[in-house]
Amino acid sequence: METVFGIVVDGAAYGMILFIISVGLSVTLGLMRVVNLAHGAFAMVAGYIASYAAQGLGLPYAAALVGAVLVTVVATLPMERLLYRRIYGSANELSQVLLTIGLTFVIVAGINYLFGPTLKRIPLPDALLGTVSIGPKSIPAHRAFVIGMGAATILGLWWLLERTDFGIKLRAAVDDPNMAAALGIRTERLYMATFALGTGLAAMGGVLGAELLPLEPYYAIRYIVLFLAVVAVGGAGSIFGSAAAALALGIVDTAGKYLIPNFGEFFFYAALILILFRWPHGFFHGRGA
């Protein structure tokens, strides 16, 4: 029993980190139909900015986090205007893949040039060091913090998409862009805002998740499969779906590694195949939130 409890707690903690990084990808893919393979690159850029802000400029963790998210969003907005706008829509999937892979390569090369190939870290504040006990199980304080942030993100996004004017317009534009435009919704602006939201979430995930997914230039490519898995299992565009998927995959991965470590990799991908068999469109297909 204690084993099961341990697996669930560890798995949930891992899953929440996956959720925070992946949900931004789910938003852009589900709402704007963009396969943004540069999502991991954006998360990585934010991580490097936070690392530089904390170590180079000596800013506190919270300031580095907020600063990195803002800088990343501002820095990537021109890309929406110049690059992404040309490839929106599901008819352009292959162009999207090629363009965003190209963009990823450029970002990887740029980071490698600026910061070098060695690992970088974002120092944690004292409050997030040490461990927190949950029943018989203790987990790192930093992970508990990430779980809290993940929960806050779920609620925040749900509120944003379901309860605000922005969310209503966005869902209208997703369902029928022409009709939305005819009703006077400025879809271009809406798309830009959604893109910024997706990038901002990637950025936040990159910074918060840096303890688990360490920062190095290849980050952008190394973890993209993991993020895509979460989105596929959750159902593109679904907030709750992404959360459920991330938790499920986190727990499956943890269970596999704990019970049969030598075949952990098999276990994860076999489970992924089975899940996608049962839910071919993801847990929550076609729902706004």
């Binding site: 084993t3 341990g6 697996i7 560890d10 903690a13 891992y14 490698n112 190939p117 060695t118 690992l119 970088k120 870290r121 120092p123 461990t131 203790s138 987990i139 790192p140 930093h142 992970r143 303890e211 688990l212 997914l213 360490p214 190095e216 230039p217 290849y218 980050y219 190394r222 973890y223 993991l226 986190g250 991965d253 943890t254 269970a255 590694k257 704990y258 470590p261 030598n262 952990g264 990799e265």
Partner: protein, 398 residues
Amino acid sequence: MTKTVRGALLGAVFVTASGAALCSGTAWAATIKVGVIAPFSGPFATAGQTFKQGIEIYQAQHGKTVGGDTIEFVYKDLDQANPAQSKALAQELIVKEKVGYLAGFFFTPDALAVAPLIDEANIPCVIFNAATSAITEKSPRYVRTSFTLWQNTVPLAEHMAKQGIKKVVTAVSDYGPGIDGETAFKQTFEKGGGQVVDSIRMPLKSTDFAPFMQRIKDSGAEAIYAFLPAGPTTLGFAKAFSDTGLKAAGIKFFGPGDITQEPDLPALGDAAVGITTTFNYSQAHDSDMNRQLLAKAKELFGSSDLVTFSTVGAYDGTHVIYKMVEATGGKPDGLKAVEAVKGMAWESPRGPLKIDPNSRHVTQTIYLRATERKDGKLQNTEIASFPDQPDYGYKGGK
């Protein structure tokens, strides 16, 4: 395409190419090229960079000429383990660049891939890193100046057994070197009276190590022997080890020194403190030669932070190549060149080295090190040494 056309074609090319080969075979080359295959881009770019630095440091200290011949290094990028590409690059280096020596090789399969080529072209191949014992068995033209997992692990396991440690868990990445390490440890440690209570092989792509930590905790071991490839996985593992409270619970962390390689130490931070490793080189090694090497690195590259095991692997490899050129008078003869360095002994920044005539691998001192913070900077402090360690994994003689 008819057979005659193809025959004529083949014939024509063969004549021109063999003519070229003949020319290069007899001419006295004023410039001797060394082809270096290593990762210069991608996730392992640091390795290639340290190779290059090691070569440049050596050349800055010892000049670029040997007996009138200029030694020139040609770099080829192989961003990750890809043996087919490795062979194509080696072929290009030999045929197009007319290199007299091959060197570099971070990954085992890439080094293995060139065996037929170096035999056919009679070219020596000096391996700066790739650490699977079996490589040097595949061709008499391989010489290796790095280390093997066996070489580092055997003295560590003996030391641990002598310390009175009884129960150990091994945790290694599930690939060739990891399994080498696990086997070497198990054999030696159990011979020394210890017990391996659990052997965990972790998928190479693992990002979350918490479940493994739970397993280690449950096994009731006093210590772990861990090996993972340097980089993000090691960082994740060491962090999880301290974050999940295993370190606080008093479980001791041992492993080969790759896991606390110098370029990763700043990122590892305090998670690395208290890890005990065995390895062939530490930046903190106390010798004049090492201080000179570090000073030169600082002078050339502005910082000596990157200097690590692969730097000295390349540095000493370059030394071996220089000696080979000297012994053959600049004439291309791979077997003779290799023959000349068999049994060669010299002093390196890491300590005394000797090329074992049988395995063509360096016999060297392995150091026991503790990672600690000194003057605000993390380093691997050598606390004991085990001289004259051969490659225990070499089976060629048996």
